[in-house]
């Protein structure tokens, strides 16, 4: 590839403290403005992979030659550079409870922008915009713990959008969303100009949004290619716990 990779994994392996090898030797490059979906059965390692893009897991033992394994925009995602890379990458957790920790919705959405060092005015504007884009404007003063699951998911999304990152890494953005919120999200993400990495089980969503699909199973990349080709291939789909979506059948 001639285009510079905005996200690059080089032979990434990861073992959880309990001994489980969740990722084996994953290599892949995502170019700027690409929209990539990561699909696979549960337990494939999707969430683990995504968390590495933000340096959220204990850094894997670096390779023999001391080289890092994850790069964002050419910068290694290792301790000394974490602040820098995290500014560029917006991360949505699979479980909204993992992500929300402030006493009010407003504080939570403002948390990222405040940490970017923006001034009060700008922060408030971003909170407004973020919440409006997910249809949660009226909820600023509510306690996130007292929202329904779908509402919490939307607040998480607002928190990510408010940071206006250039790379979005979303783990199951559509789970627990109602169809209308799902459509709104689709519209927002389609208008988003940056790079996108989405792990999801919602293959219809993938068809509508992504141009490239990465099939992960058992911690390894099993297939990588354009959306339509991969998702309409019954062999790949069947072998990795997926199903050819209704819309691509019988073509």
């Amino acid at each position: 590839m001639t285009e510079p990779a905005i996200l690059e994994l080089r032979c990434l392996s990861f073992r959880y403290p309990n001994g489980r090898l969740a990722l084996r030797d994953i290599s892949c490059r995502v170019a700027s403005r690409e929209r990539v979906a990561v699909v696979g059965p549960s337990g494939a390692g999707k969430s683990t992979l995504l968390m590495h893009c933000n340096g959220l897991l204990p850094s894997p033992p670096v390779q023999q030659d001391g080289e890092a394994q994850v790069f964002v925009n050419g910068i290694a995602v290792t301790k000394p550079h974490l602040r820098e890379t995290r500014r560029q990458v917006g991360f949505l957790f699979q479980d909204p409870d993992d992500q929300l920790f402030c006493p009010t919705v407003r504080d939570d959405v403002a948390f990222g922008p405040l940490n970017l060092g923006l001034d009060q005015h700008e922060v408030l504007a971003r909170v407004e915009r973020g919440l409006a884009s997910v249809g949660m404007s009226g909820f600023t003063a509510r306690n996130p713990a007292e929202l329904s699951t779908g509402e919490r998911k939307r607040v998480c999304l607002a928190g990510v959008f408010a940071c206006e990152p250039s790379v979005l890494v979303l783990d199951e953005p559509t789970s627990n969303l109602d169809p209308r919120a799902r459509r709104q999200l689709l519209t927002i993400l389609r208008a988003f100009a940056g790079t996108l990495l989405v792990a999801t089980h919602d293959l219809d969503f993938v068809i509508d949004l992504c141009d490239r699909v990465l099939v992960l199973d058992d911690g390894q990349v099993q297939a990588d290619g354009p959306t339509e080709r991969i998702l309409s291939d019954p062999l790949i789909m069947d072998r990795h716990g997926l199903e050819v979506p209704w819309r691509l059948r019988g073509r």
Partner: protein, 220 residues
């Protein structure tokens, strides 16, 4: 653990009164001053201590502390103090040194009420920024912030564990089993809370947190 002992956060940001408007450093220094002075007044000079008590009461009413709240806190505080104050002269075979005991009670009460005033006017956020200005190490401040947040997470986690147990508690179990389940619940609370603590920490890091305390209300 019962719900009745859920954390009772002292100050709330929305409180407004003369006292709340003071700079945070002044609030903390003033309280410390009162406590030190009250400690320095010799026990024989109880009238001076009494004056201090009156002053603290005035400060409390200025801060808008309700009589009911005061009564509730004092009801928890006084009995223990009462026993302690009595035990010393009794246990050391002095006979009842009423003067001494009464003065000690007075002194402790003054300090306690001063502390109550402080918790009523100083929200956590202000405390953290004071500590920062007083050059307390960042890591320590961050830990305090975490601790305060985690107390609520802990309660949340306990609530979840309880309702999960209830949903499949069909009552056929022996008493012994119910006891072991309850005991297990406490151990699990600890583990789950620690796991959740790590995840919350991750969520904060993911959004660029660098240990500093920032809030939307800072400049208002």
């Amino acid at each position: 653990m019962s719900d009745s002992c859920s954390p009772d956060a002292g100050a709330t940001a929305s409180d407004t009164s003369l006292c709340h408007g003071l700079p945070a450093d002044a609030k903390l220094s003033l309280t410390l001053l009162v406590v030190v002075v009250s400690g320095l007044i010799p026990l024989e000079h109880w009238p001076a201590q009494g004056l201090l008590l009156v002053a603290v009461f005035m400060a409390l009413s200025l801060a808008g502390v309700t009589v009911r709240y005061l009564a509730r806190r004092l009801a928890l505080f006084l009995p223990a103090l009462f026993v302690f104050g009595l035990s010393i002269p009794v246990a050391s075979a002095e006979g009842l040194a009423w003067n001494w005991t009464l003065s000690l009670w007075l002194r402790c009460t003054v300090s306690f009420l001063a502390g109550l005033w402080l918790i009523h006017v100083l929200p956590l956020r202000e405390l953290l920024s004071v500590l920062r200005r007083w050059h307390c190490p960042v890591v320590l401040i961050a830990m305090i912030g975490f601790m305060y947040r985690y107390v609520f997470i802990l309660w949340d986690e306990l609530r979840r564990l309880r309702s999960a147990r209830d949903a499949r508690d069909f009552g056929g179990a022996s008493t012994w089993r119910e006891w072991t389940i309850s005991a297990q619940l406490i151990g699990l609370l600890l583990l789950r809370a620690m796991e959740r603590a790590e995840r919350t920490h991750r969520a904060m890091l993911a959004r660029g947190w660098d240990g500093s305390i920032r809030s939307l209300d800072d400049d208002r």
